[in-house]
């Protein structure tokens, strides 16, 4: 039976098998495993059955722990179940894993191996998560390539059923999960052949059922637990043989023969490397290359890591081996060595049978997807050849601290010369990656070539750079490392030439394709000199095309992907031109056809127009171009120059260990040094129209439009185009006002324009801010911005925090984050830093806010002129509320300690000062400033007192100044995975503020549904529209009675938002603010974000209220309804958003039913709030009415 060749990635391969052999799939999304759950959900939604003819149930739980528990229940009840996860998600499953293994129940956990967060979080790959579960009793099987993922997903399932041992089947996150490769797809017959129905029957017979009831999960005592635990031994002893038998059976079926340990290399090898995961493929390629050149080397690929079969391991080791290097893709600080290394040493010790043991060294590589290249493999082999090779080495970094690193030769390459290697630099969302995935498909499926695609993304959510690595050639491609020697380099954004070395990887004679706004006969002089130099030196063939021009002409907007793709095929000649164009068109129809014929046609037009605009550049042998601008200003601090700048330039790999902080601590305020220049258009201030209301400032997601009021005398030698007008404040008469835009940091979202309430009476299209092209303004506004920053801020004491225009004079201490253009969350974050930033300590849940809040290389939180500003830490996802509570516990403790010490030292310090310190009113900015002055004075006095108490008080004196404790997070955290902790924190009554940035979906991981998702919205795991309504977190918090609760939407009422934030902070107890945040996952142009916020409130979808417990003390109703009764139908809000309309399009009947139900939800909710707002507080309702009548 002919098997299909498909070009897919590792995630799809795993999901393909898992879906077909499972009945229940319980998941929780986490990068990079999320797509496996999403594929499963999609296939079930499409009604795709498993091999037994039923459609698997796919359920998203509230956390990975919940998913594991649901899976546990399902398999105990006799179902065949699987799950997918990574990193912390796997760790959350640990208690359940012990149970599942202890009960000997078959299941497979498919793991996209990812770094466990330590000093930092990383979404990338290493084996620290796998190693963290090696003791649970699960079997662990490693797959090294996309083909192996497909094959061993099945092998793991079959082996688990037979051995009764649950399996972890893992493969490297991103390197394998997201690598597109051409593989042979297993058929359903293959799956049926491997899954023994008799074993399925036995699994079902072991199920918990009232028809044959059993009891499990007993509680056992010292007299018998140990024996019961040991009773499982035979299963573990039998497992390795069972796995090998299954592998043998698979080999008979497909011809691909796997073994528990696979050896590749010289049969008489003297030096052997042992490792597992995708790096084994690189080692395989390197070993083949070296063996061809006569070296006696080999590599053992570990597949079955647990149970570790000493016998099978020793059998594959060549008897000639003298030295072994074991490579671990993890770090276990405090252990003698890493796990695989320890296993190998123990295995040799136990199994080598009296022969002299080979020398064994262990090393670490590849943490967090650090590249592991053939050159590094060679370095390890070279090390093994030394008389005293280094043990506990690292390879791939420069360790100048503990000197563990090996050196390697970056020029060493084992790339097959027949393989074509292409690099494509694109801008996120220009379609480059999608087009390349199609190209891989075309090449892989339409030619005899093998093809591989790997994609590197950015850490920013706006203006992100993507790099596509494509290889294709006549031999299977094992190169699980990035391309460093490319035959073809395409740069799809001219501005990249200034930012990093796009041609570094170009080999002599390579082809360079540039998307250029300049025609072929003019482009040369615009190319930065370092690029020109390489073009000339490497004798590159240079082509240009004005992709944006073609895109504009054919209605493609910013999407140049199919245009550039056509050029690639034409130049590379991998397919005959006409055939390539036809295939591209077929792929277009396939990919975009379901979005409508118009989309298909305009893409066709773009393809047809492309080649006419492609021109070769006959460049002179002269360097005429400009110097590229420095990555960061030369005025930037040392940390920025040493660490931030190289990372921005793409040279982060060169940073040595000594440059990095050992504990994950980084300075704030570094984002200001990275000038991204990604906005095509920026706002321009029309100072004559402006009413200085501050609305543009408050809505700006990136703090790139700011206002200042200052004395006339401060305006000394301003740059020629700097604008200043009289300030329109009663209190600031005779002062000046400036609204200044940071054009190099602006992302061009135009929310400031949308928020501006002023229209030019002679031309209503014009507002007090209007968008204009950035490039002509860059120079002048750079100077204006620098000048603006130096102007003094008006005294905070003079400002009224309840007035919007006043608050927007507060300096934002959160700026230039990597958030999406037009983000709905960041304005709230920025507001917190304006109001309380100089005294704020923030715990941030994992999610968008932790990524834009702390994704290196730049940190957006910053300090004021006195060096104070928010301190911030992202701990984990689920623990944010508790983590922030910990801040409050410590701060209160320090404060109490300080107060106690003050009492003790009062005679020496002065009774007056001590009394003032203890009784300080810190409810206003003035009050806080006064206390800071007192503390300063206190410290001066303490410096003169020589006693342990004085020294102790010196350390905690600052805690006499009020601190503002915050927990930030999204709805994924607050409604789902972190709800248990959040609820507990609310119950403690402690003074902590919780800001829930409610985007109504898991934004950061790509739009999975949360309990905050509204009824009828489409999200991943709710493809048919979420059938249930949005959880009312506010009401759940409110029931405690002593929690301040606020629901806000800046686009509906910004003054209300500010008031709520102030009240929340003022409340001496837990406060929770749920802030409606528009998001790219809602599916509309985010310049309308504020309009949608308004519509959300006006339609009754998100009514606003404040519950203020302090009103109770005054005998008033604490519940204040802050928005009017619904005045527009829900449809008028919902159908502006693709997350609703896509359902209306694909299932009109279903959409209508859900919309009607959602409309009822909204009406009912408002009624409830109205009812609560009208509650009588003293006596009964009747008495209240009687009282009113009496007064009437």
């Amino acid at each position: 039976m002919q098997r299909r060749k498909v070009t897919i990635d590792g995630n799809e391969a795993a999901a393909y098998v898992a879906h077909k052999v499972s009945e229940v799939i319980a998941i929780y999304p986490i990068t990079p495993s999320s797509p496996m759950g999403e594929w499963s959900d999609q296939w079930s939604a499409e009604g795709r059955p498993n091999i037994w003819g039923t459609v698997p149930t796919v359920i998203e739980m509230q956390s990975e722990a919940g998913a594991a528990a649901a899976l546990h229940g399902a398999i105990q009840a006799g179902a065949l179940a699987a799950t997918f996860t990574s990193a912390q998600g796997l760790l959350l499953k640990i208690p359940t894993m012990y149970k599942v293994a202890g009960e000997l129940t078959p299941t497979v956990f498919h793991i996209a191996a990812r770094t466990v967060a330590t000093h930092a979080l990383s979404i990338f790959c290493d084996h620290s998560d796998i190693m963290a579960v090696r003791q649970t009793g699960f079997a662990i099987l490693a797959s090294n390539s996309v083909q192996e993922v497909m094959d061993q997903a099945l092998i793991a399932t079959a082996a688990s059923l037979e051995s009764r041992i649950p399996f972890v089947h893992f493969f490297d996150g991103f390197r394998t999960t997201h690598e597109v490769n051409k593989i042979e797809q297993l058929t359903e017959d293959d799956l049926r052949a491997m899954i023994d129905d008799d074993l399925v029957r036995r699994h079902r017979q072991r199920a918990m059922t009232p028809d044959r009831p059993v009891l499990r999960g007993t509680s056992q005592n010292p007299d018998h637990f140990f024996q019961a635990r040991e009773a499982a031994n035979p299963y573990y002893l039998a497992c390795p043989t069972i796995v090998q038998n299954v592998m043998d059976k698979f080999a008979a079926l497909t011809g691909r023969h796997y073994h528990l340990f696979d050896y590749v290399g010289a049969p008489d090898a003297e030096r052997v490397i042992v490792l597992m995961g995708s790096s084994a493929e690189t080692a395989h390629e390197t070993v083949e290359y070296l063996v061809e050149r006569g070296e006696k080397v080999g590599v053992i690929k570990v597949r079955l890591f647990r149970p570790f079969s000493v016998e099978h391991f020793i059998k594959v080791l060549p008897p000639t081996v003298k030295a072994i290097a074991v490579l671990d893709r993890t770090k276990e600080p405090g252990a003698i060595g890493e796990p695989l290394y320890l296993d190998v040493i123990t295995a040799l010790h136990e199994g080598y049978d009296g022969r002299p043991l080979p020398r064994v060294i262990g090393g670490r590589y590849g943490l967090s997807s650090k590249e592991f290249t053939p050159a590094m493999v060679k370095a390890v082999f070279d090390e093994l050849a030394k008389p005293n090779p280094k043990n506990h080495f690292t390879v791939g970094i420069y360790d100048d601290v503990t000197h563990t690193s090996l050196e390697w030769d970056p020029e060493f390459s084992t790339e097959d010369p027949r393989t074509i290697r292409c690099l494509f630099y694109g801008l996120g969302a220009d379609g480059t990656v999608g087009a390349n995935k199609n190209s891989i498909k075309i090449i892989g499926e339409e030619t005899d070539n093998y093809a591989q695609g790997y994609f590197v993304y950015d850490s920013k959510k706006a203006g992100a750079v993507t790099v596509s690595h494509l290889r294709f050639g006549p031999k299977p491609i094992r190169s699980t490392y990035l391309i460093s020697k490319a035959n073809f380099i395409a740069c799809h954004q001219f501005v990249f030439l200034e930012r990093f070395d796009v041609l570094k990887a170009a080999v002599p004679g390579a082809v360079f394709l540039l998307n250029s706004p300049y025609p072929a006969d003019q482009v040369w002089d615009h190319i930065p000199r370092n690029i020109q130099e390489q073009i000339i030196r490497k004798k590159l063939k240079f082509y240009v095309i004005d992709g944006y021009e073609v895109a504009k002409k054919t209605g493609m907007g910013q999407r140049i992907n199919t245009i550039m793709q056509t050029c690639f095929f034409a130049i590379s000649g991998v397919l005959p031109r006409e055939e390539a164009i036809q295939k591209i068109k077929d792929a277009i129809r396939d990919t975009y056809g379901r979005r409508g014929e118009a989309v298909v046609q305009k893409n066709f037009a773009a393809v047809d127009a492309a080649l006419d605009h492609l021109h070769e550049v006959h460049y002179p042998e002269r360097i005429t171009g400009p110097e590229p601008p420095p990555t960061v200003s030369p005025k930037a601090p040392e940390f920025v120059q040493k660490i931030v700048a190289p990372i921005i330039r793409g040279e982060g790999d060169l940073i040595p260990v000594s440059a990095m902080p050992p504990d994950g601590t980084f300075p704030t305020g570094t984002a200001a040094w990275e000038k991204r220049n990604i906005a095509l258009e920026v706002p321009v201030w029309d100072e004559k129209l402006c009413i200085q209301c501050g609305k543009c400032v408050i809505v700006c997601p990136h703090a790139t439009i700011r206002s200042k009021v200052y004395e006339k005398s401060a305006l000394v030698n301003p740059p020629p185009t700097f604008k200043a007008v009289p300030a329109r404040w009663k209190e600031f008469k005779d002062m000046l006002y400036t609204l200044q835009v940071a054009v190099e940091d602006c992302t061009g979202c135009a929310l400031c324009v949308a928020a501006c309430p002023v229209k030019d009476k002679s031309n209503v299209k014009r507002r007090a801010v209007n968008m204009a092209p950035q490039i002509p303004l860059r120079e002048q506004e750079r100077a204006n911005w620098e000048y603006f920053l130096k102007l003094p801020n008006v005294d905070r004491d003079l400002l009224k925090p309840s007035v919007i225009k006043d608050t927007q004079l507060f300096q934002p201490l959160f700026e230039f984050s990597g958030a999406c253009t037009g983000c709905g969350e960041t304005p709230y974050v920025k507001l917190v830093t304006q109001l309380f930033g100089d005294r704020a300590i923030i715990g941030n849940a994992t999610g968008c806010s932790s990524i834009y809040g702390g994704n290196l290389p730049t940190t957006p939180y910053t300090v004021d002129e006195e060096g104070r500003g928010p301190t911030w830490n992202n701990s984990l996802f689920e623990d944010c509320a508790e983590f922030s509570l910990g801040f409050r516990l410590a701060i209160d403790q320090h404060n109490r300690h300080a107060r106690d010490l003050l009492a003790v030292l009062a005679p020496q310090i002065g009774e007056e000062l001590v009394r003032e310190l203890l009784e300080a009113d810190q409810f206003t900015e003035a009050g806080i400033r006064a206390q800071r002055q007192r503390v300063k004075l206190l410290k001066e006095k303490l410096a003169a007192i020589d006693s342990p108490e004085a020294r102790r008080l010196m350390l905690v004196a600052d805690y006499l100044v009020k601190k503002s404790v915050w927990a930030f997070g999204g709805d994924g955290w607050a409604y789902d995975i972190g709800y248990g902790g959040l609820d507990h924190v609310l119950s403690t009554g402690r003074n902590i503020n919780i800001l829930v940035l409610d985007t109504e979906v898991y934004s950061n991981t790509g739009g999975q549904m949360s309990k905050a998702t509204p009824r009828g919205a489409v999200a991943k795991f709710a493809a048919g529209g979420k059938p249930t309504g949005k959880k009312d977190l506010a009401m759940m918090a409110l029931q405690y009675g002593n929690v301040y609760v606020g629901r806000v939407a800046m686009g509906y009422n910004d003054a209300h938002t500010v008031k709520t934030f102030l009240e929340a902070e003022a409340h001496d107890g837990p406060s929770i603010i749920i802030a409606y945040s528009h998001c790219i996952a809602h599916g509309y142009d985010m310049v309308y974000g504020l309009d949608q916020q308004k519509a959300a409130v006006e339609s009754g979808h998100f009514p606003l209220f404040r519950y203020d417990p302090s009103l109770l003390a005054q005998g008033k109703n604490p519940f204040q309804l802050d928005s009017k009764a619904p005045s527009i139908p829900l449809e008028k809000y919902a159908y502006n958003e693709t997350r609703f309309t896509m359902l209306a399009r694909s299932d009109p009947e279903g959409a209508r039913r859900l919309l009607e139900a959602a409309q009822r939800d909204a009406q009912l909710r408002f009624k409830l709030y109205e009812h609560m707002a009208s509650m009588a507080m003293n006596g009964s309702q009747k008495a209240e009415l009687a009282k009113e009548e009496k007064h009437a």
Binding site: P35, Q42, G557, G1006, R1145
Partner: protein
């Protein structure tokens, strides 16, 4: 009982009451109701090529907006396999309506590109529609495009479509032409089987508080009927194409006037939206009563009786109260003059 039957584009109808293109027609239940209430034919809501284009492009734009940029969220939406962006839903609606009712079903099409018009016209024909109404809703706003060019485009369009389908083609027009009779004659020559007079252009309003241009939907009233009567009356007998009046038909009197002006059918939208579909039955009763009282035998008898060709003084149509002469006798024909 007076005979209410009429023919329109070759279709035999039980009465001149036709429901014209409106959102009511999106629902088959409504159309069944219309048939029960005596409506003789229905013109379905329009299939807008432009709407399809806009929706398709918006969907594509928003689904792709942040695709493949950031590693943790390579996409933000699940891949729903079908979006029904295209004429399929409309075509299916025609099919199902034809299965549900016996009265003629006329498809309505508003295109933008010639290719789009022809493609969708064919689809509507294949779906089983009895006739096709071309809803040329086009507001010229470019000062450099002259009237002749605009007219030529309409004529070419009608010619193309007539060449592409076999079902009758009616053309719904707006009133803003330099010479309506000339335009009518050209369309007649291009093969139009009927002219539907007139399309109502929705004009936006200004919101003075927000300084924004806002949509403004005002339903028609009887006063709008007059201009339609006027032009149908002038055209009657001078073109081969049938005529239908749409806009301002609210009462039995209105229907009768339409017939006397020379229209074959009177189309209603606002009346049904305002008064409900059952109103059509009352209207029919009123028609019959009036005809009985005034001793008319049939609708066909009165069609065109008050047209320009048939009234004693054509000037009443042609100069339409433009002048006021002191003596009202001066403009009236002398009795007895032929």
């Amino acid at each position: 009982m007076p005979d209410l039957t009429t023919t329109y584009v070759g279709l035999k109808l039980r009465s001149p009451l036709v429901a014209s293109s409106s959102p009511l027609c999106q629902n088959i239940g409504n159309i069944l109701h219309m048939e029960d209430a005596g409506i003789a034919a229905v013109v379905l809501h329009s299939l807008f090529e432009e709407q399809i284009l806009i929706e398709s492009q918006a969907l594509d734009r928003h689904l792709s907006a942040a695709e493949e940029s950031y590693a943790e969220s390579l996409s933000y939406f699940p891949d729903l396999r079908r979006y029904n962006i295209g004429p399929d839903e409309y075509v299916e609606h025609i099919r199902r309506t034809k299965q549900a009712v016996d009265i003629p079903v006329i498809g309505s099409l508003n295109g933008v590109s010639t290719g789009g018009w022809i493609r969708y016209a064919r689809l509507i024909e294949e779906a089983g529609a009895d006739a096709l109404e071309l809803n040329i809703y086009h507001l010229p706003t470019d000062p450099s495009v002259d009237g002749a060019t605009v007219e030529r485009q309409y004529v070419e369009l009608v010619r193309h479509i007539k060449a592409s389908v076999r079902i009758p083609v009616a053309v719904k027009l707006g009133p803003y032409f330099s010479s309506i009779p000339n335009m009518a004659a050209k369309l007649d020559e291009a093969g139009a089987d009927a002219l539907v007079l007139f399309n109502r252009f929705y004009q936006p309003d200004f919101d003075l508080e927000s300084l924004e241009v806002v949509p403004n939907l005002v339903l028609s009233n009887s006063s709008e009927l007059l201009t339609r009567l006027h032009w149908v009356g002038i055209l009657y007998g001078r073109i081969r194409a049938d005529m239908a009046i749409t806009g301002g038909v609210h009462t039995a009197q209105d229907v009768l006037k339409c017939m006397m002006a020379g229209a074959k059918v009177a189309m209603m939208t606002s009346a049904l939206l305002r008064q409900g579909i059952d109103y059509a039955a009352r209207l029919e009763e009123d028609l019959i009563r009036w005809m009985e009282e005034h001793e008319y035998e049939s609708i066909r008898q009165m069609q065109g009786s008050m047209s320009a060709q048939r009234v004693a003084d054509p000037a009443a149509f042609q100069r339409a109260n433009y002048m006021r002469v002191l003596s009202s006798y001066e403009l009236r024909p002398r009795p007895g003059v032929q």
